[in-house]
Subunit: 283 residues, 2 copies
């Protein structure tokens, strides 16, 4: 069992990881090799003290280099579910299970409001993980919401597995061109079904019968990721120590609320790590 | 009148100043030309994300260069008293008076616990400002607590003005060598007097009659600096938005509590600035 798990490799997750490392904790750090897609997408950052005016891509490279210099490495798996079980947390990441005694959520701000019915039908036709659940839909018809080009290989994997895919991407230049993939011109508004997913509804009003819906996003909504987590609107509720309502679970960065700023994120990552160290010392 | 005043030029003050500048606010920023003496004194800093392992001196130079690149400049005066007056704040800095509609305190952690009797006799023989009050002690005997070499020129100014000085410095290599200056071998423990300062007591137990006591420190204790400010022990009490109990007054960095970390300070400076912008927008 790990002392701690950190979910997220943006500025908050990095800041937290650095401090747990300096305190010799045995932890696992989930994220993406590319560190922070959000930082990379920032054209210019003027207010990260000490860096001067810098491009997001260059700052992200500096974050990455700093992590490497420290010997930190990211486990590139998407965490899709966490359970608080007594004194520890069980994390599900692409069919693998991890145990940790404490947790830092640095999962970024939830983008978009989710799809109506998504949470209710999660695990009953709604899935966040192509690798985990794709095989369940052999020969079937599914809808896929692909929020980022980074997940197109997962959408293609699903197309290879299933009979037919209705695909929606919020961006224009999708590289997916397969015979059994139909592009949706309107966003997915809702998903319906009694026992399991039966159909989706588009913003245009069109209804399409499907057997499943895969939502491929950068992050899972916090309350879905970790049931029982107290929220303040779309944000994880934390106190000044970055502690959530669940003992041993801390949160940092955009997921805890505005301002959505790199300086704020590194600050909270630092605070969350120190609070976690206090928590482990007390246990 | 300024939109805002920032007190302190460490990482929290810098981060706040950057954000007010980017939002075109008319503000005054009090601090020292050297930015942060505390950062400079840090031998190595490993956990300021993106900088790698860096010396405190080098990081401070990067902070300074970033401020200069933005066209920010520090007003090198020590703020010794602030009054909350209705919708604005009145700041006293070395005999000059400034008015601001809002305030960010980024004054660092109070070092030491102060001297017994200091707060009670402030303005009645206890002073924090040689330039302001030195002339009152012509031909008299005073005690001077000089906490940093940066203030030795003020101690020398006082020695030139007065008959006799009893000097205590917590560091060893003081450069002060004047005929009327007696070095104290023991720290000052207390200051006593009925209407005004009459004598000091050293930790060694010795009592020395004096007419005044000058405390030359990096910062003034928050509750003395701004009467009415709610404290949490030695720290300024703030909420998640870095708001204090006084409307329009925000605080950031070490003065709000642990962890005493640069990442936390820049994060709170950013948050305090954004909260202040919301406050000004609402007024």
């Amino acid at each position: 069992m790990y002392d701690a798990a950190i979910v997220g490799s943006g500025p908050a997750g990095l800041s937290a990881a650095m401090n747990l490392h300096l305190h010799n904790k045995n932890f696992i750090w989930f994220g993406t090799e590319g560190m922070s897609a959000k930082v990379v997408r920032s054209e210019k950052i003027a207010n990260y003290p000490g860096m001067g005016l810098i491009s997001g891509d260059k700052l992200n490279k500096k974050f990455s280099a700093h992590a490497k210099e420290m010997g930190l490495s990211v486990t590139s798996k998407m965490v899709t579910n966490i359970m608080a079980a007594g004194e520890s947390f069980t994390l599900l990441a692409e069919n693998d299970i991890y145990e940790a005694g404490s947790l830092i959520l640095a999962i970024g701000a939830a983008t978009g409001r989710g799809i109506t019915g998504e949470t209710e039908l999660l695990g009953r036709g709604v899935s966040y993980c192509a690798t985990c659940d794709g095989f369940l839909y052999k020969g079937k018809t599914i809808a896929v919401l692909c929020m980022s080009k980074a997940y197109e290989h997962e959408a293609e994997y699903l197309a290879g597995m299933t009979e037919k895919v209705f695909l929606y991407t919020p961006y224009k230049d999708s590289g997916i061109d397969l015979g059994n993939v139909t592009r949706l011109g309107s966003p997915i508004k809702a998903v319906y079904g009694k026992m399991r997913v039966e159909e989706i509804e588009l913003v245009s009003g069109e209804h399409i019968p499907v057997d499943g819906l895969f939502c491929l996003r950068d992050s899972v909504a916090p309350a879905v990721l970790l049931p029982g987590l107290a929220m303040d609107g779309p944000h994880i509720m934390v106190d000044r120590d970055c502690a959530t309502n669940l003992p041993g679970c801390f949160a940092a960065g955009d997921c805890t609320g505005r301002p959505y700023q790199i300086a704020k994120a590194v600050g909270e990552g630092n605070v969350a790590a120190h609070s976690l160290l206090d928590y482990l010392a007390g246990n």
